[in-house]
């Protein structure tokens, strides 16, 4: 299993701010190793989903153009304090990770 990801969710007015930080190399498959000259194979997150209390709020597809150790923030209107936010990702090798937090 991949390294844990950090997630934080807080209310700001009637909107929940969700921020998360994932641990991932995000290799595009285009980069060459500086020493050997060999192409570093693609290894990046392809799908990210987020739910609040079980309802999907975000369904994203990513390419290798997202930076290493990706940061993602989004806002959800109508969420309440204590609601459970879950973020999942899957990468192109089938590796996956999930994290959850209660909105504070």
């Amino acid at each position: 299993m991949a390294e844990p990801m950090k997630i934080r969710a807080s209310m700001s007015g009637d909107t929940a701010d969700v921020k998360c930080l994932m641990n991932h190399p995000m290799e595009t498959g285009l980069r060459k190793d500086a020493k050997t000259g060999a192409v570093v194979p693609a290894h990046h997150i392809t799908n990210v989903t987020a739910t609040v209390n079980g309802a999907t709020v975000l369904d994203a597809q990513w390419g290798g153009g997202i930076s290493k150790n990706p940061y993602l923030a989004f806002k959800v209107k109508g969420a309440k304090k204590g609601d459970k936010v879950v973020v999942n990702w899957v990468d192109n090798t089938g590796d996956k990770n999930t994290a959850e937090a209660a909105i504070g």
Partner: protein, 155 residues
Amino acid sequence: MNILRRNVLKGAGAASAVSVAMVAGLLKPGTVFAAEWNKAVFESKDLGSVMGSVGGAGAAAGDINVKAPDIAENGAVVPVEITSNIAGTDTIIIIGEKNTQPMLAEFKLSNGAQGYISTRIKMGATSNVRALVKAGGKTYTAAKEVKVTIGGCGG
């Protein structure tokens, strides 16, 4: 502390996945699993074909704010914040116009998610960061130029 925490997280994750599947299954079958990754678009190296396959650029809109630095010293990490004030925004697409693979990310928003995404992208060269926003079946766009002094795509 770490081992315990991981076990707790793992257990909680598995339990929540089940409940998510159940709730989503009841409300909207088929939304449980993310859409298949669109390999053709993400690996395309031609901006024109990427724009075509995401539905064209659409109309320029002042209601979309693309916040990014004027000058990025490190193209590997360029913070980008996209805010759409268009009512009914359901999709935000981020494109790096001069990147080898221009298509960076597509975010589908639902169930109260606001037209706001903040993330960090790689940029190979100075170019526009373009945001495409879909709302009510229409496409809108806005862009912001970012000058890159060191490329982030193996350059």
